[in-house]
């Protein structure tokens, strides 16, 4: 009788770790999606990816300090601001990078600079200390499911993430522009031969990459707590881990990578919490050793 009850409790905790890991993982899938899109379409290694997440978070913070207690305004602002910025920013840098001898290495260096600039600007405007974005949903009572309590904020973040991810998939697999985008991922030169305006499509994808990062930033107070100008670096590393687990250059891989990351993290937090910060690095190492192309990889990295 006694062992039965213990096992039941363990199972419930396992169930909790998996469900919350999935909620968490969906957020990280969104957080890393843009990194994957940029690499897939432009062979850009965006070292500033996490900093665009940070920018999104501070856009939400500004909205919050103006008394907006829900994330919706932040989400809308990010779409306008980072979308516009991305589209405009592409043209001075994108064609030069993709036309260069080694776009991956060059973009790495360039975006390292962008990362430093964004961080410095954020420190100048918002100071060095972490700030909280007190969305109303953070104060809502946990939701009960099979005897375990789940944070409504996580459910909201996961829900918005799912919607955005589905929208990106709708774009990629059900629109003409999405076909063009996937064509460029598959074969850039052939896409040009076909008559696709490669730079226009790339600019749109660049904007989309920044927007998805920024949206994750707006949601980040719901999932990872307070925000600060130097939060970007850690997020960039996590995003790289997620993207490489799934496979670099394949946006589907981000979802798989996000879920695997989220669930592993929650299992570690549940059973071995002191080790949990190592999860992204351990997963990254395991994947690189066992399956360097990622779980869904088909040798994308050969390029």
């Amino acid at each position: 009788m006694q062992t039965f009850r213990v096992e039941g409790r363990l199972l419930r905790i396992l169930f909790y770790a998996i469900i919350s890991g999935m909620l968490f993982g969906l957020f990280f899938a969104l957080m890393s999606l843009g990194l994957n899109l940029l690499f897939g379409v432009m062979r850009m290694v965006n070292l500033a990816h996490g900093d665009f997440v940070m920018v999104g978070a501070f856009i939400a913070y500004v909205a919050y300090t103006h008394g907006i207690l829900s994330p919706w305004l932040g989400l809308a602002l990010v779409i306008v601001i980072l979308g516009g910025l991305g589209f405009v920013l592409y043209f001075p840098i994108g064609p030069r990078l993709t036309g260069s001898y080694d776009p991956e290495m060059l973009s790495l260096i360039l975006f390292f600079g962008v990362s430093q600039i964004l961080e410095a600007l954020a420190v100048m405007v918002f100071g060095n200390n972490p700030v909280a974005v007190g969305y109303h949903v953070l104060t809502v009572k946990p939701v009960n499911l099979l005897g375990q309590a789940y944070q409504p904020s996580w459910i909201l973040a996961a829900g918005v993430s799912v919607i955005v991810i589905l929208a990106v998939y709708g774009y990629l697999y059900h629109t003409r522009l999405g076909y063009a985008t996937r064509a460029i991922m598959g074969d850039r030169e052939e896409s040009e031969s076909t008559g696709i305006n490669v730079h226009r499509v790339s600019a749109i994808v660049f904007a989309l990459g920044l927007v998805t990062a920024g949206l994750a930033g707006v949601l980040s107070p719901l999932v990872i707590g307070s925000i600060y100008p130097t939060m970007g670096l850690g997020l960039t590393i996590t995003a790289f881990a997620v993207v490489i687990i799934g496979s670099l250059g394949n946006p589907l891989g981000s979802i798989l990578g996000g879920l695997i990351y989220g669930i592993s993290l929650m299992l570690m937090e549940t059973y071995l919490s002191t080790w949990s910060t190592m999860v992204p690095y351990v997963l990254l190492l395991l994947i690189l050793l066992l399956r360097p192309t990622g779980l869904l990889g088909k040798g994308v990295r050969r390029a």
């Binding site: 991922m185 598959g186 008559g195």
Partner: protein, 238 residues
């Protein structure tokens, strides 16, 4: 025999990769609805010439008129919107499905027109209909060429430029492809086909021969057959 209304006029076109020039002063003309073959051995510069016409390789100097309009300053996609279609050796995007490739072929058409045109192509090429949801890269060599041709036809271009359509095809499939291309002859689309395979001359009225980046011969297919040195070079192998 000179084409009455040229769809393509090229004057003194030269091109290079970096510092290496591979095309010298190419001058040619294609009439509307005309079928012209560009013969040349490996490395002669055929692909480079075609890519320069499309804007995939920048021209060093020279002029290109498409339907009497200069297109030198236009991007590839702009030239394609002006009635050009380019069928590269690959001819399609392997990672997209057959249908998605056809959509790309009619990228700049309205949704309704694209829809009807794709349906027409499925009627013409029932294999493509059966495999419309397959990745183009999983098709057989012959089916890939059909897809490439169908994709190029969707926008009803005035000029289709094809790069070595016979590459990767068995002799039997080459015959089949030639038969298909002959059937498509409705006089409204001009074809400019770069080939090493002289069987394609059966399709054409005129030919150019490219050697070492320069035009070596310009004339009718009959004149080409009559040229002694070229005959040994190209037809000796027959």
């Amino acid at each position: 025999m000179r084409p009455t209304q040229p769809v393509l006029q090229v004057k003194n076109l030269s091109a290079r990769y970096g510092v290496m020039q591979v095309l010298w002063d190419v001058t040619l003309e294609i009439g509307s609805g005309e079928r012209v073959v560009l013969l040349g051995s490996n490395g002669a510069g055929k692909t480079t010439l075609l890519k320069t016409l499309c804007g995939l390789v920048p021209a060093m100097h020279g002029t290109i008129l498409l339907q009497q309009q200069p297109v030198d300053a236009l991007r590839v996609d702009q030239r394609i919107r002006r009635g050009l279609a380019f069928v590269s050796e690959l001819g399609m995007i392997p990672t997209l499905t057959v249908e998605e490739n056809l959509v790309l072929g009619g990228y700049y058409l309205s949704n309704a027109i694209r829809h009807t045109r794709i349906a027409e192509m499925y009627q013409k090429f029932p294999d493509l209909w059966r495999q419309r949801r397959w990745a183009a890269g999983s098709l057989s060599g012959g089916q890939r060429k059909m897809l490439a041709v169908a994709k190029a036809l969707i926008a009803r271009p005035t000029l289709i430029i094809m790069d070595e359509p016979s590459s990767g095809l068995s002799p039997l499939l080459v015959q089949e492809l030639i038969a298909i291309l002959r059937q498509l002859d409705d006089g409204s689309t001009a074809f400019f086909i770069a080939e090493q395979n002289i069987k394609f001359l059966d399709l054409a009225t005129r030919a150019y021969v490219l050697e070492g980046g320069r035009l070596r011969f310009t004339g009718t297919v009959a004149e080409l057959h009559a040229d002694n040195t070229l005959r040994t070079a190209y037809f000796g192998l027959r």
